[in-house]
Amino acid sequence: MRLKTFPRGGVHPPENKISVDQAIQVLSIPSRVQLHLGQHLGAPAVATVSKGDCVRVGSRIAEGKAFISAHLHSSVSGTVAKIDDVIDASGYRRPAVVIDVDGDEWEAGIDRSPELIREIKADAETIVERIKAAGVVGLGGACFPTHVKYMFPEGRKADTVIINAVECEPYLTADHRLMLERTDEILVGVQILMKVARVERAMIGVEANKPDAIETMSRKARSLPGIEVIPLKVQYPQGAEKQLIKALLNREVPSGRLPLDVGCVVNNVGTALAVYEAVQKNKPLVERVVTFTGSHLPATGNFLVRLGVPAMEMAAHLGVEIGDDTAKVISGGPMMGKAISGLEVPVTKGTSGIVLLTEKDARRSPVQNCIRCGRCVSACPMGLEPWLLEKLGQSDRFEECDSSGAADCIECGSCSFACPSSRSLLDFIRYGKVNVMRIRAARRQK
């Protein structure tokens, strides 16, 4: 049988899934954690604790007050040392709650037993409330607050919940390990999402390069009505929401619209687990699985990391010395992740991996002239013309960027990857897109 995939564009970067056989290890807690208030998409949370307050694991330390925002919980127990600006992944200093760790005492009411709770007692409204209370956001990387996805506008209905277990980024193996090790919990999480979305069908899309995960998941999902595990042809960026919907359901999300407009809700597989823990175990989002990897490292691993722990703790746990051979550190995968200034940056809700690259892998090749080969056009999964958008962005022609579809760019980087002249296509498209969004917002205000 031919495997499903999305039909337009896409590239196939080397997979480099080095850490795939490393079981998830629990990372020890350092003496201090830094929790940024803006860990999610939307308005940053507002701190509700102050210096000197005692907190336990799972205590709410900041509230998401806006419609699109999420609560933040302490990932450790201890004392709030300060609320101050701390360097985040971009190198800019942003407000964060800094907590000095003392022991590991959890908030009462959180069920920490490994026992699997299959029965979903809560009704749909309670589930959304619990997801919101637990501060769950999309763990694929975009960090969109999960509860907002399930607050359907009046009259809208979904027919399918899609679980994104594609993990199409090279190097990353966190979701893969989760599917192997936490299969049952994930499947209960999926059932919870089906219940809250009031749908009968869930599709779990997994790329064919994870045969063991597909096997385990489908075996366990067989007894569950409505849940289907679907192997997909390996192709980047299949993990992008719109591409995944196209691959699984052959439905196209129109420009500027949401998956709900074509009757689906998409969640990451890690989010499904977080939802399970939030609803069944009353556990807020205080930890996540992070892949720590690099092709030149003697050891790599997948870690269950408390939020706010500096990435260097993972290197220390593995006994890896970060030497001169590491030229670049990326938070996320190498295609869509962001280069960070160093390993002292704390893990946030969106950190799916920390990838270390050598000078050879990281260095951009010198930019050459566009040879009009059209590879960027064939690579673009959104059917845009990257070469054109690059030119328009370069010359600040934002109105034309808008009419040429810059706002539809999903910033997957396939064009830059495919370009034989190593042009900075995505940089200029993103520059154009940011300005298009700014102009649109200004117009809306008028």
Binding site: D85, I87, S90, G91, Y92, R93, K338, A339, S341, R363, R364, V367, S424, D427, F428, R430, Y431, V434
Partner: protein, 294 residues
């Protein structure tokens, strides 16, 4: 005569006459009365269309000038590249008095040169400040400082700002700068300001925009303003041109007399001037102007 020719001439003649009537009526009905002075004023402007006046091109300013002249007040309208000379000529033509504005110049408020703020990261993306700014804090880690990729240089229509390859910072050529403000808009970190040129070209400014607490600012750059406030105290009592806000000193160019007293007390050398400051005396006499240099 061939009747075909006759008919053609008659029919075409009638069509032409009809069209002429329609055109005449329409031209009269929808006539736009444009002040002929607008064209004249636009003619007097330099025609650089730099946008420094805040209007879309020279014609935009010409329209605004004529409109303002009808109200009898040209206040706030200025063609920076044309300067006082052009404005005086336009004022004379429009019969309205023009206030003479002092000459101004662009000033770069960052002193984080390569030696003062050494890079500990390397950026190999596109050479655009606006893009680098959206990606990270900067090669030297200062989130407020110059990124050194020259968006201001590209923006300048007058070849008046250039990157110094040694310091990695832009430098303004005050002879060429017309203070149109294109670089001010281009800089994603808002490091460039338009200041009065100052008497004999003497001006003093805080070459730092870092609003972090002193320790943090100092970590990224040795020339950072640490907000110690010594300059505020050093500024002559009658002048009080320096204010301190958010760990950052600011010298109000309108009040500053360019005495240079603040320069000598600044522990980090964050205050720059276009002249050699006077050596600090044990008891600096307030209000004394330093001897003019250069």
């Amino acid at each position: 005569m061939n009747p075909v020719i006759v008919y053609s001439v008659v029919v075409l003649g009638l069509v032409a006459a009809g069209a002429a009537v329609i055109l005449f009526v329409v031209a009269n009905k929808f006539k736009v009365d444009e002040d002929p002075r607008i064209d004249e004023v636009a003619e007097m402007l330099p025609g650089a269309n730099c946008g420094g006046c805040g209007y879309p091109g020279c014609r935009g300013l010409a329209e605004a000038l004529v409109r303002a002249a009808d109200k009898g007040d040209l206040g706030g309208l200025m063609c920076p590249p044309g300067g006082n000379e052009t404005m005086a000529r336009i004022g004379e033509y429009l019969g309205t008095a023009v206030e003479e504005a002092g000459p101004t110049v662009a000033v770069v408020r960052c002193g984080g040169s390569r030696s003062k703020a050494p890079a500990n990261l390397e950026y190999d993306g596109p050479e655009r400040c606006s893009i680098a700014h959206s990606l990270f804090a900067g090669e030297n880690g200062c989130a407020y400082g110059c990124l050194g990729l020259g968006d201001c240089v590209t923006a300048c229509d007058f070849d008046a700002i250039h990157m110094n390859s040694e310091t990695g910072l832009p430098e303004v050529d005050e002879k060429k700068c017309v203070s149109c403000g294109a670089c001010v808009i281009a800089c994603p970190r808002n490091l460039i300001e338009i200041h009065p040129l100052g008497k004999k070209g003497r001006r003093v400014w805080v070459a730092c925009m870092n609003r972090e607490p002193g320790g943090v600012a100092r970590k990224a750059c040795k020339a950072a303003c640490i907000g110690c406030g010594r300059c505020v105290k050093a500024c002559p009592e009658k002048i009080q041109a320096i204010t301190l806000e958010n760990n950052l000193a600011y010298i109000d160019p309108a009040k500053c007399i360019a005495c240079g007293l603040c320069i000598s007390v600044c522990p980090t050398g964050a205050i720059l001037a276009t002249f050699e400051p006077v050596k600090p005396k044990p008891k600096a006499d307030a209000g004394v102007t330093a001897p003019s240099a250069s």
